[in-house]
């Protein structure tokens, strides 16, 4: 993958270099796809959302405010697209059980099995939470964004982000406790 900054790639793309945009797509396809997947909980919808996000980015590139990070901008578009899809569907789609996480790096099968069970339990708990809880937890723990970045994407203030994170974690722990006892 290219070491060029997002800004440099955007400049190349504006100059007519399509490959520069391709570099951006390669760079952000995975986090955007996962962000969409955690919200819409369906692989096909997540793919559509991701593709739509990149196309919107290409079309609305002139709207991008360079004072903010590029990935924050495209994350916001991804979150909004995902939420719009949920709204269009009228309700949250059924959980897509076919989502297969990638295999771990370890070659120890027992460790892999234990990790798979653990992550499977967390995924199950997360997917049963509300879209708002999933979103804030996903942005913090999977996309590893700061409070400020999450606030910018969700268009909230930082205090609200901290509060939402606190509540979402509390609920997640309860769900996990229920899963352990059951």
């Amino acid at each position: 993958m290219s070491n060029e900054t997002d800004a440099a790639l955007l400049a190349r793309y504006r100059a007519g270099d399509q490959e520069a945009f391709g570099e951006l797509v390669v760079r952000y396809q995975r986090p955007l796809y996962n962000a969409a997947l955690w919200i819409v909980r369906n692989t096909e919808d997540a793919r559509d959302v991701t593709q739509e996000v990149f196309l919107k980015v290409a079309v609305r590139l002139e709207d991008y405010d360079h004072r903010y990070k590029f990935f924050s901008w495209i994350y916001r578009i991804a979150v909004n697209e995902s939420l719009n899809l949920l709204r269009r569907n009228g309700r949250e789609e059924e959980l897509d059980e076919d989502v297969e996480p990638p295999a771990g790096d370890s070659v120890n099968p027992e460790w892999q099995l234990g990790e798979a069970q653990k992550s499977g339990r967390i995924r199950h708990a997360l997917m049963s939470m509300s879209a708002n809880d999933r979103m804030v937890l996903m942005l913090r723990h999977f996309s590893e964004l700061s409070y400020e970045e999450i606030a910018g994407i969700l268009e909230l203030d930082e205090k609200t982000v901290k509060s939402r994170l606190y509540e979402a974690r509390r609920r997640l722990r309860e769900l996990l406790q229920d899963l352990r006892t059951n």
């Binding site: 993958m1 290219s2 793309y13 100059a15 007519g16 270099d17 399509q18 490959e19 945009f21 391709g22 570099e23 797509v25 390669v26 396809q29 995975r30 986090p31 796809y33 996962n34 997947l37 692989t43 793919r47 991701t50 593709q51 990149f54 196309l55 290409a58 079309v59 590139l61 989502v99 297969e100 996480p101 990638p102 771990g104 990790e115 653990k118 992550s119 967390i122 995924r123 997360l126 937890l137 913090r140 723990h141 999977f142 700061s146 409070y147 901290k162 994170l165 606190y166 974690r169 997640l172 722990r173 996990l176």
Partner: protein, 349 residues
């Protein structure tokens, strides 16, 4: 606790928490539990994006945003560039839109297939019905066979009558019409009133041979007419008309029509491109390529090749060769020649 674990706490906040945890066991248990949750969340693997996503995005990228002349990603790619490799790899499976281009291609392909079918039909139709060159090989051996008959010279040496000679010469000279030679033989027979049984027998023998020759010719004509006609008319026509037409019409059309259609048409968000492209690409191509080719190639070929060949080759042969031969040559021969021959000729020999 959350801010510290999130890495968002200030140094002062972190020091405060350390002091609290050192003094409070419940706070420590809570902190450990929360940290375990963070660790668990960290261990959740993230899904891989679906294959072809990059190519799909690049295929649908609006060209109006760019000043670059080419929409093909990787056209300016440098070797070893990940995006270039990925785009090249994915562009094979995910096409880009361009249904108008595809439609134009399909029209050209259809026109080409139709032209090819006409050319094949014309080239195969030249041989229908089988001409003289096709029958020469069958008639000449029969003529040669007849020319070597001992009847004429043998009879002459033993005093063959003039009419018998004429008859035999007539049969020798006349290679094309069994009826005329038979008529002359018949005249000679009438004139001489079967006076010379030997010569008559030989003449009739010659006539019988003539009949057989004509019969052979008829058979050759029939076999040539039918077999060649069938062979040339149907199989070549079928072969050229249908197989080539099918081959060129369908596979090329399919190849160009569908793959281009797929290539060009599907990327349009798999909405308009694929259905139109598939519809226009395959059905037009199939329609132009196969049905016209089939129609022109097989029906005309069948019509011109088989029916004419059958008509000219078999029926004429049957009509002229076999029936006359049967009527004049073989039956008379059977009647007169063989019996006389049996009676006179073979005995004399």
């Amino acid at each position: 606790m959350h801010a510290v674990l999130d890495g968002e706490a200030t140094p002062a906040e972190a020091r405060n928490l350390e002091r609290t945890l050192a003094a409070d066991a419940d706070a420590r248990a809570e902190f450990d539990s929360l940290r375990a949750l963070f660790d668990e969340l960290k261990g959740v693997p993230q899904a891989l994006p679906p294959e072809g996503l990059v190519a799909s995005v690049m295929a649908d990228l609006p060209s109006s945003q760019l000043s670059a002349p080419s929409r093909v990603i990787g056209a300016r790619a440098q070797a070893g560039s990940p995006i270039s490799d990925m785009a090249r790899r994915e562009s094979r499976s995910v096409p880009f839109s361009g249904s108008r281009l595809m439609k134009r291609k399909v029209i050209f392909v259809g026109a080409g297939v139709a032209a090819l079918a006409v050319i094949l039909l014309a080239s195969s139709g030249i041989d229908f019905p089988p001409g003289g060159t096709n029958t020469t090989g069958a008639i000449v051996p029969a003529q040669r066979f007849r020319a070597d008959q001992p009847a004429t010279t043998g009879v002459s040496a033993t005093g063959q009558s003039e009419s018998a000679q004429r008859a035999s010469q007539g049969t020798q000279g006349n290679t094309g019409d069994a009826r005329s030679s038979d008529a002359r033989a018949s005249d000679s027979l009438k004139a001489n009133g079967r006076a010379d049984s030997l010569s008559d027998g030989r003449a009739n023998d010659a006539r019988a041979n003539d009949g057989r020759a004509n019969d052979a010719r008829a058979n050759d004509g029939r076999s040539d007419g039918r077999a060649d006609a069938m062979k040339d008319g149907r199989s070549d026509a079928m072969k050229d008309g249908r197989a080539d037409a099918m081959k060129d019409g369908r596979s090329d059309a399919m190849k160009d029509g569908r793959s281009d259609a797929m290539k060009d048409g599907r990327s349009d968000a798999m909405k308009d491109g694929r259905s139109d492209a598939m519809k226009d690409g395959r059905s037009d191509a199939m329609k132009d390529g196969r049905s016209d080719a089939m129609k022109d190639g097989r029906s005309d070929a069948m019509k011109d090749g088989r029916s004419d060949a059958m008509k000219d080759g078999r029926s004429d042969a049957m009509k002229d060769g076999r029936s006359d031969a049967m009527k004049d040559g073989r039956s008379d021969a059977m009647k007169d020649g063989r019996s006389d021959n049996m009676k006179d000729g073979r005995v004399s020999q």
